[in-house]
Symmetry: D2
Subunit: 283 residues, 4 copies
């Protein structure tokens, strides 16, 4: 039996769930996990169906098309990869990178890292420990032409590696809209705050100055707006009296690693549906 994941969004109406489930059954499929919800504000039905089948996938896609047209669906039929390809962009902070490399090596994430790309050389050793090619692509942040040239080099590595997912694991350069569009819906960033609070750099200092009692981390798809893409995962941790921006950053590292890997797993398992600047993430 093969595994497939159907994701769909369409205007809500009675009968869709019955139609989809009947289609799976008639295709000889056996549902492993199905979950659906609705967005009452936009009047949408949103569903994820994971099922086992013996059919050819293209045949399944063809056979689903009629039903999709009837209900005006946006839809995808995905085949989960045994091991997805990840490219990771970093600057100098090591915690998310080590966390992802370790999770791939131990089999915790169904993926392997095909490239680590950085504007600095600090993390070359980390990539090397896991036998992952490290691309050092330095850039003068004050020179717009240099930034564009470097981004083109980053892009060239990605084009060569064809990752299923690009991960910004504390990459401290802002990307152009051209880049984010090219890799849209498969680039995840980890931001070190509970978005939309504390956008941009120095989020822990901003948080400390406002005197918040919890710090957060947010993993989101990257769009052209800074820290504005659809949120996939968020979590928070308690601030202790006496915490400084430095100790908050220390506590925050654990949050960042965990929130990022949770979002990566959800994406790789095709549990995330992004629409209208939001996501639905099925457990």
């Amino acid at each position: 039996m093969d595994r497939a994941v159907l994701l769909l969004v369409c205007p809500d109406a009675p009968g869709i769930l019955a139609d989809v489930a009947t289609w799976v059954a008639q295709s000889g499929g056996s549902i492993v996990d199905a979950a659906q919800t609705s967005d009452i504000d936009h009047g949408l039905f949103i569903q994820r169906v994971e099922f086992d089948h013996t059919e050819d996938v293209e045949e399944l896609r063809r056979s689903f098309r009629d039903l999709a047209v009837r209900w005006s669906m946006w839809w995808e039929l995905q085949v989960p990869k045994e091991k997805a390809r990840l490219s990771i962009l970093v600057t100098k902070e090591a915690h998310c990178l080590y966390d992802l490399l370790g999770r791939c090596a131990s089999g915790d994430l169904p993926a392997f890292v095909v490239s680590v790309i950085s504007n600095r050389s600090d993390l070359e050793e980390a990539a090397g420990r896991f036998g992952v090619p490290f691309h050092h692509l330095p850039v003068d942040a004050d020179d717009p032409d240099a930034r564009l040239a470097q981004e083109n080099e980053v892009n060239a590595v990605l084009e060569a590696d064809q990752p299923d997912l690009v991960i910004l694991a504390r990459y401290m350069r802002v990307l152009t809209p051209q880049f984010t569009e090219r890799w849209s819906e498969r680039t995840i960033n980890i931001h070190h705050s509970f978005l939309p609070a504390f956008i941009g750099a120095n989020a822990y200092r901003q948080a400390w100055e406002r005197g918040v009692k919890l710090i957060g981390a947010t993993a989101h798809y990257v769009t052209s707006g800074l820290d504005e893409g659809p949120i996939i995962t968020q979590d928070v941790a308690r601030v202790a009296p006496g915490d400084t921006p430095v100790t908050m950053a220390r506590r925050g590292r654990d949050l960042e690693s965990l929130v990022l890997s949770t979002a990566v797993r959800a994406h790789l398992e095709h549990r995330v549906i992004a629409y209208s600047g939001r996501t639905v993430v099925f457990d």
Copy 2:
């Protein structure tokens, strides 16, 4: 349109979801919320379907019967009450009682309290503030006959009031199997620990002595085994250095109130399916 909730458990097999969803559609129903899961260990399919309809409920039940037999289902078709009837048993701690009375009065819980029953008189004033009849049924805990007699009086109040749900809100008397059986599947208890840790009395002292770093609370259906019924809701809170059994109990009260009211709401909204000593609670 009327609202109904279908709950079902049956051996898992391809086609059930399609059959159920098709039945709803063919009955002229419109699904408001559907969720399903499986218990892989026992090979079970477990579903909750909330739907709007114009049919007579008995007619719906009749029409579902064939399908239920075909898939060997345990099932219920519930009609959510606008206001359910609650009877609350207490001893002397007021926090859960005030919390439930306030939630019913403010409309936060879709229920009203028909009786408060206690082996002590401490909480008579609390019930009185909300105009709820208070039944003081004292008992000598050391006299088995007296205990049985008092339990019969409790039972008589319940039989007269016919509550949809009986709540043990820090009621400190152990009930007989006859009683728990009579009110089974509609009696919820709040226990002041993360069960199965710290069964029985003095749970905070037990927790303090073991030196745990989190305290918990557990709401569960009452069965004949002490603190062994199916768990509905649990939550925990951090223990601070310097906490004593007394301060842990103080922190624990907030947990107890919240966990209990969350379980009560889930029950009243027909979101809980209990089977094999466990529950599935749909969000």
Copy 3:
């Protein structure tokens, strides 16, 4: 023995802790709980000392003055009240009000409610259940003069009642700087978001539109800037797929009640030190 709480903030330097602890010992005091921290950014030492003593409090204050001058301290010596006086401002949402009334009645909070003030009449019954005077002071929100007049009436009630703490328990009118200044450092507001995200009205709708995965609540001292006062307590809860602004508000109510009562307790126990737009809250 009497109980006192010393709160202090001063420039950090070696020897302060020794001096303060020695002063307590020499005053015949016995420390019940002491906690201190530092704000490294501002170079400050911040301390709370709770102690038992047999001395006259004014005498204690006099004897501490020299030490306070020597270290350039801001300081207070508080005597915890057995029962503090609370005035609660509300509009129409009942959950925080019932929660506070219940906690005062059960003895969970060391306080009693002396007045409930509202621009609407919805919650008159709630106050009445607990025998608390209810002041209905309606206002035409579009008429600046009427708003000022109503605020003066609110102020008159407070001046008459002399509460130790004013609580804005979902009071939906913006207060003038004159008012907030008059009651500064003893007015706590509950805001229905994780501040500084989602300032102002409709916080749950804002949160839903941004697609956050956690909702929050924030209790803070009221200052003239909208939702900008020093944060005392914050907490968050998970958003489920399918949540709408309405269901998020439902989940949020539990957060609001709990966060507010936690902040009120911390304030009444003199555990909060506010300085530079921030607070330190000792456990």
Copy 4:
């Protein structure tokens, strides 16, 4: 300036805090962080003082002795190591090992790993990636003599490596009292449940069968009683409907890694005081 950490436990009495703080000031020390609490049940005062000084450490110890005798203190004066030595025992699960290796390599933990010891060979590659010696010491679990012999070999590696801390990172063999006594107060184990619930093997299956709604992890010092040593850190995570023992174990891995590394950090920073089978952990 050098850094030192003073830990102490003694019968509670007025004047101790003053004496200790005065001693630090008179020794020319500057307090960086001080925290104290009391165990009211046992009548104990418990304190941690971190301070900078220019004195010789042995001289400090000598000068503290009088004070310690006066108040009948158990006490230690520790000098935090820039990099502590860790030996890690594992069996086959990789997540905690990779997490610890990554944290040491990135500088997140102030430590380096001197040896990885295992009864299986599965994790040799993981140790190798970080250049850490791997000791494969297989054992026939059914042969008591073989178990003793293998434990002696483990012990020999440790005696040679002289670690500051021994970490049982999912090591699946029970150790003898001789071993636990030899390395007592410097051996930390991670247990995959919220202790004292679900002691021993198969904790996730036990948890699943009981139907708990949260899973936990517990890091504790190892003593001769199985899973009974003083608890250092605990945390929990939500169980989703549909979780199985396998998916609970998957979620649990994140908890285990985080709880273990948090306990290791607290130990290395001398923030843990163990006494009477319990610990106090200062933030």
